[in-house]
Symmetry: C2
Subunit: 331 residues, 2 copies
């Protein structure tokens, strides 16, 4: 880790429920952080107002701490036009930002350089800059949360592709005839292993396995079932939960193996809230990845859990800013 | 296409049955070519001897034609250590080359710079240099022949990955519970759609559909069934052949879609002998790719058949040489 420089970056993780921001130095230390509900000032125009207030507040914090500001990095959901910092039309959880030229607006308000990209691209750059895969040239990340996102760094460069879809591992097909996905396809990895889909499958299968530990943990209310509850029930041997976790691990293992066989990274980082389940998931994922991948390619790939903290989103946004400054040759 | 320069490259496509070589100018014109059976001088040491004679003969041809030689590019099966030009241990169809330091040997014999890489990486670079995707930054290739190989160019660089497995699209899992593959996994794309597997599936299914056009075309001998025969029978409506071709197209479509969602290339080139079946395969592959991929990412991807000729392997090997010269900064 490099020594803190004279400057700091405002990193913002713009989520559907929480807007987190922080002052990050180029060594990856979060000097100051703020987190507020995304809809603190209401939905609609309130969300942009909220974002502007958080960024303005952090800029004020930097002034008070006497830290020169280098710029702003923002990780946002969906597909982003990084050149202009414009949010894509497909953004699901902050619909008010559809098509918004967020980068341009923030540059106007702050007078600072601003970089906006997809949140999981930012997470991946955060890992590469501050986490386990520092110094590698070929890195992949799978972030398993409510949905599944991913990021790819190959030949030392982030893979955004032609229009920003690069890295969308959650929507690769691992089952030609698998369950329908909202994206219009079927058999997407996400349908087996995202947090929402782990809960969905458990609720569905619960009907064949009553009474059960899972039903008991949910106090008889299927709506209370979420991924952590399914892992808790699986740890206690509940057959429904064990079945769902086993299938999620198999699908994630195939996803990891597909990354290994197609991109042959030196390291794959598993992150996101669902991965906090720990070994009950990571161990079978790794076993299945070994099964599905070329043996020699698998043996050359380190599969690790993210070592970054809850602040990974803020760190990722700051890493995104640093990456773009370097990539575009800005000082 | 650039104008022919003063020099030529010896491009060699080292296949299990045919060893093809040619003198290629940097504009992609094959000035002179030779093709011999790989085992013309017998197996074992004969294969290397044969290769050395072909390269030596082409060097002699260049001298006679008064073309200065820039160097030698070789596309070979399996995983190659490009830095040293050493053939991998996993090479199947030329077992005598297992672990052979081919690059070093050829440099010693010819005094020329020599580059060796995987044959499908070479094909992909050939397409990028001389074919449809000239000038793009993000390109993927799927080569469907006896087996299925692939190549990726992302951010303007060939994706070899940590140990040369980059681009192995034939062994991504498209069916979590699919048929066993020789690679140790199951549900690999290859198992549905390679030439050998199209023939295998047709032979297997023939038992439920006798008499049939396919059996008639094979003169009652299942051993005569190969992929071209299956396509010919499918074109005449044979139910077994139609079933196998439909499933191969579906799996290839999922493979194309996985490339689109994960790598988001501007163009995907479909090549290899099986693709010579033409629209009977390309049309349903494209339809299924549209089904499995994100709509906006699919719409931004051109899916094309290779426009290179039978000399694509030789052109690819020459393009490989030019790419490595440029990448490593050699003059």
């Amino acid at each position: 880790m490099t020594a803190p420089s004279a400057g700091v970056i405002i990193g913002v993780d713009l989520g559907g429920t929480t807007l987190a921001g922080g002052l990050v130095d180029p060594g990856g230390m979060v000097q100051y952080s703020r987190a507020v509900p995304t809809d603190r000032l209401g939905r609609g125009e309130g969300v942009l107002q909220n974002l502007l207030e958080v960024v303005g507040g952090l800029a004020e914090d930097a002034r008070k701490l006497n830290h020169p500001l280098l710029g702003v990095g923002i990780g946002a959901p969906g597909v982003i036009d990084v050149g202009t910092g414009t949010i894509g039309e497909d953004i699901q959880n902050i619909p008010e930002f559809r098509g918004l030229a967020l980068g341009r607006i923030l540059r106007g308000r702050t007078g600072l350089p601003v970089v906006v990209d997809n949140d999981v691209n930012a997470l991946t750059l955060g890992e590469w800059t501050f986490g386990h895969p520092r110094g590698f040239r070929h890195v992949a990340m799978i972030a398993v949360g409510t949905s599944i996102g991913g990021g790819l760094i190959l030949n030392g460069a982030l893979v955004r592709g032609a229009s920003g879809y690069g890295g969308e591992i959650g929507h690769i097909t691992v089952d030609l005839d698998g369950p329908d996905c909202f994206c219009g396809s079927h058999g997407c990895l996400k349908m087996f292993a995202s947090g929402a889909d782990i809960a969905r499958q458990a609720r569905h299968l619960l009907r064949v396995n009553q009474p059960s530990v899972l039903a008991e943990l949910a106090a008889g209310d299927p709506d209370r079932i979420d991924a952590p509850l399914v892992f808790a029930a699986a740890a206690r041997g509940d057959p429904t939960a064990v079945t769902v976790v086993a299938r999620a691990a198999q699908a994630l293992g195939a996803g990891v193996a597909n990354l290994i066989n197609l991109c042959n990274p030196e390291m794959i980082v598993l992150g996101g809230g669902v991965m906090e389940a720990g070994e009950i998931l990571v161990e079978p994922v790794t076993r299945w990845a070994r099964f599905y991948a070329f043996e020699a390619a698998f043996d050359g790939t380190r599969i690790v859990r993210s070592a970054l903290t809850k602040e990974s989103g803020v760190l990722g946004a700051a890493a995104l800013f640093l990456y773009e400054q370097r990539r575009t040759g800005a000082s």
